[in-house]
């Protein structure tokens, strides 16, 4: 126990903290400029000087730790004089342009100067001149205001790990700069904006549009871009969002955001937003009233159900729909239309992986707190770059690396490049061989009893030697060996799994191998989730065979429970998954498709095939905020609300339930509300007045969500919050043991493969409609390795045509030496079409997920954008 006295106040502490922390805990404010809670102490600004008895010099309270019996004074004359002196020094070179500066009103320097500062400075010579830099589309740098606190640089390097800016020069000539000196070449997380205490680094998006005191409303919400679900605050003036800032505490992100969350919100005001229901007649859309549209939908669905049965109707939910939307929709499909054909893009891998691991290890096993990552003693990543798919989760991996935790990153992951201790780079689509060898080795090192049910399976996995793996995947045996050695020494590692590893012919084998690793290493699992509510949708039963709360439809007792609750029977056999639905549409086995916010043509493989399938439908209903390509094919289009215009809940990849709050008014309607209207027209009463009513119902019926209320969802609510304990798995019937041949499948010689790149700056329709994100990353590209680029005479900046049997894309070329030879990486989501557009239609029949590893690609250099050159 340490007792310290600050300004006569006695403070008792369990362990030593800095004087600054101790003071703050006791409600004593000490001014600071270079200190920031998210950063390590720096001690540069010298504003926090305090007097400590028995010490001759003033000490910086941000760096000095308390000791037992210490007596500290924070406001003596000597201290106040020193602070005034520091401020006078700072104002020597700091521009005095507060009336013009956007930071005025929330500027730390302004605040402390008002409190302690000298009335006027006595420095007579001219200030440092440094013209404001507008070289960047998003960030404006004004180095006349910089006070060299280095908070931005420490944030950028130590927390974000982007190392995009640095202090350059020294002495009073020091300032902050990106490498180019102009435009940033960075991750645009904007976390530097959070920590800049003055107006030196600011966002251009709200330049001179408002002053902090003009903010009329703040909506405490979560981001809608990816499965991390960062908590954030939307600041509103009039009916528009002026700024998105992270909430300083709580949630999964603890004050951090990524570029999409911070700058991507402007899609909300994109001119392409739908503002009225539309009905297509004679091939042409015309505006319709809400009731007209609902009546039309109800009528058509009723007819189709009567003529062809509920099974001829299918529904797809977007991963951006809320839990409320998902719950109401699956109820509508099951109880009203009598169809279990309900699914979402969560079934492009996430749901399958979750089911697989839960089957073996138990419910909830794939959803762990991200904060556990830096606390593990090793991290193994495979299947996609976490720093791009789930940027803020990626930061936890970087934080782990920063603490010296060894990170092994398998495959192309530019965002982990400088952080990973091991970076095995297998040839295209040969991770299976690598994983097999690792499992084989670890099995030998760790030993397994073979007694447990899953242990038996691990034992049966065909052994693959390092040499065999090397021959197939090209990773040198010694590198696999050292990765294995590193892993084998760990006691609580984290395994982070991206969906690319599942969207494979060998997807199921990969899952088995990963499960074996998890078991052998006793590790935690993290599944990367591309959309904000994939987890929530699977929890809500938006799956062809699962009911809300992760309960199997085929288990009679579960189904009964829901049937009783809904008051109607629901079909007892599983419905079609999303891939099957498209095939069934092709075969005219389904007649009507109800899609909530998913641009299928864009996000599914083989856009031509998907388009053809959708065109064969008798009836297509589409909810969306934009007139997407898929919406263009619909018979009725219902405008949705963007995430900032409605209220509801999301469940993130940690199974953290959080509330999305309304910040501004929109012109669309919540999906759950629209669906309840239609339901009512179809004679099934759904009487929800608010999303709270929906949650209340979920809390009643879903065992996982038992008794949950909105009030519980403060950022720390993870299911089962009050619900039933999680169930233990071990259902191994479905697991098929792969044969050795399939583990060692090698890429075909001289064939070029296409891989899915996750661009940091883009995410489907939303980001394409964000001016900010489009200005950061305006054009889609392909990444190609040095050797292949050489063979194809491609140089950085060239245009190239990438084509497969399914179609072609024109892309600009980037050369990256880290790309495995004979493959190109193409982003899945920006530009007119993503890479999925040119993927062949191929379904993994066991997982019912798309397979993306079968591409033979031709690449042609284009002389100018339009012309092709034969090479």
């Amino acid at each position: 126990m340490i007792t310290v006295t600050i300004n006569r106040k006695k403070i008792n502490l369990e362990k030593p903290v800095t004087i600054l922390k101790a003071a703050r805990m006791a409600g004593i404010e000490i001014p600071t400029l270079c200190n920031h809670e998210m950063l390590e102490p720096f001690g540069g600004c010298r504003l926090c000087l305090v007097e400590i008895e028995k010490m001759p010099r003033l000490q910086t309270s941000c760096t000095q730790y308390v000791t037992d019996g210490m007596v500290v004074w924070t406001e003596t004359e000597k201290v106040v004089e020193a602070r005034k002196a520091m401020l006078e020094f700072l104002l020597i070179n700091h521009a005095l342009d507060c009336p013009y500066c956007d930071k005025a009103g929330e500027c730390d320097l302004q605040d402390v100067t008002a409190k302690y500062g000298p009335a006027t400075g006595r420095f007579a010579e001219g200030k440092r001149r440094h013209p404001e830099s507008f070289d960047d589309p998003i960030i404006v740098r004004n180095m006349e205001r910089c006070i060299s606190c280095t908070r931005c640089v420490r944030m950028c390097s130590k927390v974000q790990g982007a190392y995009a800016i640095s202090m350059v020069n020294r002495s009073s000539k020091t300032f902050v700069e990106p490498f180019s000196g102009g435009r940033y070449d960075c991750e645009y997380c904007g976390n530097c904006l959070t920590v800049c205490p003055v107006g030196a680094i600011m966002s251009r998006m709200h330049r001179h549009t408002y002053r902090p005191w003009q903010i009329e409303k703040e909506a405490d919400t979560v981001c809608s871009f990816c499965g991390v679900g960062c908590s954030m605050v939307l600041q509103v003036r009039g009916n528009s969002i002026v700024r998105a800032v992270p909430r300083e505490t709580g949630g999964s992100n603890k004050g951090l955001l990524c570029n999409r969350g911070r700058f991507g919100y402007d899609y909300v005001v994109s001119s392409g937003r739908l503002d009225s229901p539309m009905i297509k007649r004679d091939g042409k859309f015309r505006r319709a009233s809400w009731s007209e549209a609902f009546t039309y939908i109800a009528g058509r669905l009723k007819k189709i159900k009567e003529d062809s049965g509920g099974n001829s109707i299918a529904g797809i939910v977007s991963g951006r729909c809320t839990n409320e939307d998902g719950y109401v929709f699956q109820k509508f499909m099951r109880a009203v239309l009598g169809s279990n054909n309900i699914d979402s893009v969560a079934s492009f891998g996430y749901a399958q992986a979750q089911r697989f691991f839960e089957g073996i290890f138990g419910q909830g096993v794939t959803a762990n707190s991200m904060r556990g990552i830096p606390n593990s003693d090793g991290v193994f990543v495979v299947g996609g770059d976490p720093t791009a798919v789930n940027p803020v989760l990626g930061l936890q991996i970087r934080a782990a690396a920063g603490k010296g935790v060894p990170v092994t990153a398998v495959g192309y992951m530019p965002g982990l490049k400088i952080f990973a201790a091991n970076r095995p780079m297998p040839k295209p689509f040969t991770e299976t061989a690598l994983l097999s060898a690792m499992v084989t080795e670890l099995r030998n090192i760790k030993g397994i009893s073979g007694k447990g049910l899953f242990d038996k399976l691990i034992k049966d996995i065909p052994p693959v030697s390092l040499g065999e793996a090397e021959e197939v995947c090209g990773v040198p045996s010694k590198d696999i060996r050292s990765a294995v050695d590193a892993l084998s020494r760990m006691t609580n590692p984290s395994i982070v799994i991206g969906m690319d590893i599942i969207r494979r012919t060998e997807g199921q084998a990969n899952l088995l191998l990963l499960a074996a690793l998890v078991s052998l290493l006793n590790s935690r699992i993290y599944l990367l989730s591309e959309l904000p509510n994939e987890q929530g949708l699977t929890d809500m039963g938006c799956l062809p065979d699962m009911l809300p709360g992760g309960r199997h439809l085929t288990v009679e007792s579960f189904r009964r429970r829901y049937e009783e609750f809904f008051g109607v029977d629901i079909p007892s056999s599983p419905g079609m998954g999303i891939m099957e639905m498209i095939e069934a549409a092709h075969d005219k086995k389904i007649k009507a498709l109800y899609v909530m916010g998913e641009d299928l043509v864009y996000s599914m493989p083989d856009s031509a095939y998907v388009k053809a399938a959708l065109s064969k439908l008798d009836f297509l209903v589409m909810h969306d905020i934009f007139m997407t390509e898929t919406a263009g094919l619909a018979d009725v289009v219902i405008p949705s609300l963007s995430w900032s215009e409605k209220e509801g809940s999301y469940t993130n990849l940690e199974r953290r339930m959080q509330i999305v709050r309304k910040a501004v008014e929109g012109k669309g309607m919540e999906e759950w509300r629209a669906v309840s209207e239609i339901s009512r027209l179809l004679g099934f009463n759904m009487d929800y007045k608010s999303s709270g009513d929906v949650i209340a119902e979920i809390a009643k019926v879903s065992p996982l969500h038992k008794d949950i209320t909105y009030e519980d969802m403060t950022g720390e609510c993870m299911w089962p919050y009050k619900g039933e304990p999680l169930r233990h798995g071990i259902s191994l019937e479905d697991i098929e043991m792969p044969d050795k041949g399939s583990l060692l499948k090698r890429p075909e010689k001289d064939r070029i493969y296409i891989g899915v790149d996750k661009p940091l700056f883009h995410f489907e329709t939303l980001s394409r409609n964000s001016e900010a994100l489009s200005s950061i990353a305006p054009e889609p590209y392909m990444n190609v390795g040095k050797a292949l680029a050489g063979r194809l005479f491609l140089a950085e900046g060239d245009s190239a045509n990438v084509s497969t049997a399914a179609g072609s894309l024109k892309l600009s070329v980037r050369v990256d030496p880290d790309i495995p030879d004979n493959s190109v990486m193409v982003p899945d989501n920006f530009g007119d079409k993503g890479v999925y557009a040119i993927m062949q239609w191929k379904v993994n029949s066991a997982l019912k997920a798309p397979v993306t590893d079968a591409e033979g690609v031709t690449i042609k250099k284009m002389k100018h954008a339009a012309e092709e050159v034969a090479v």
Binding site: Y163, S166, V168, N169, P178, F179
Partner: protein
Amino acid sequence: MLSENTVKEIGLIRSKYHDAQSSLLPALYVVQREHGWLSPEALKEVGEILNVPKAEVKGVSTFYAMFRHKPIGRHLIQLCTNVACMIMGSENLLNILKDRYGLEPNGTTVDGRFSLVVMECIGACGTAPAMLVDTDFHDNLTEKRITEILESYK
């Protein structure tokens, strides 16, 4: 583009340290020796070799007075002007460089023969005034000696 030799030499330096970034300063020296200065491309390349982010490389290299971030002449005169050299006549030497060669501090002669940088103490106070020309030390400079010495650098 760094030459193959330079890359090799950096690799050799790298092996002397337990941590890649520790070899950054020596690596930058090697590059500066080859090119005379550190271009943005060179900084980037060194960063790539050592796995140090390029902005970090720039932040580090600009901290140090002896790294050049602009092209310089064939020979670099680094003349000390700190106290000992100052009282022993370095100001006069600066005038001579200006009069004879048109050389100003941080400037380069029109013919690209010399660049001049004014130095803080170079540890030759006992034989002041002194200068470095490239890596050669010259001290006890006088009006006569400095011109003689410089004439031997073509």
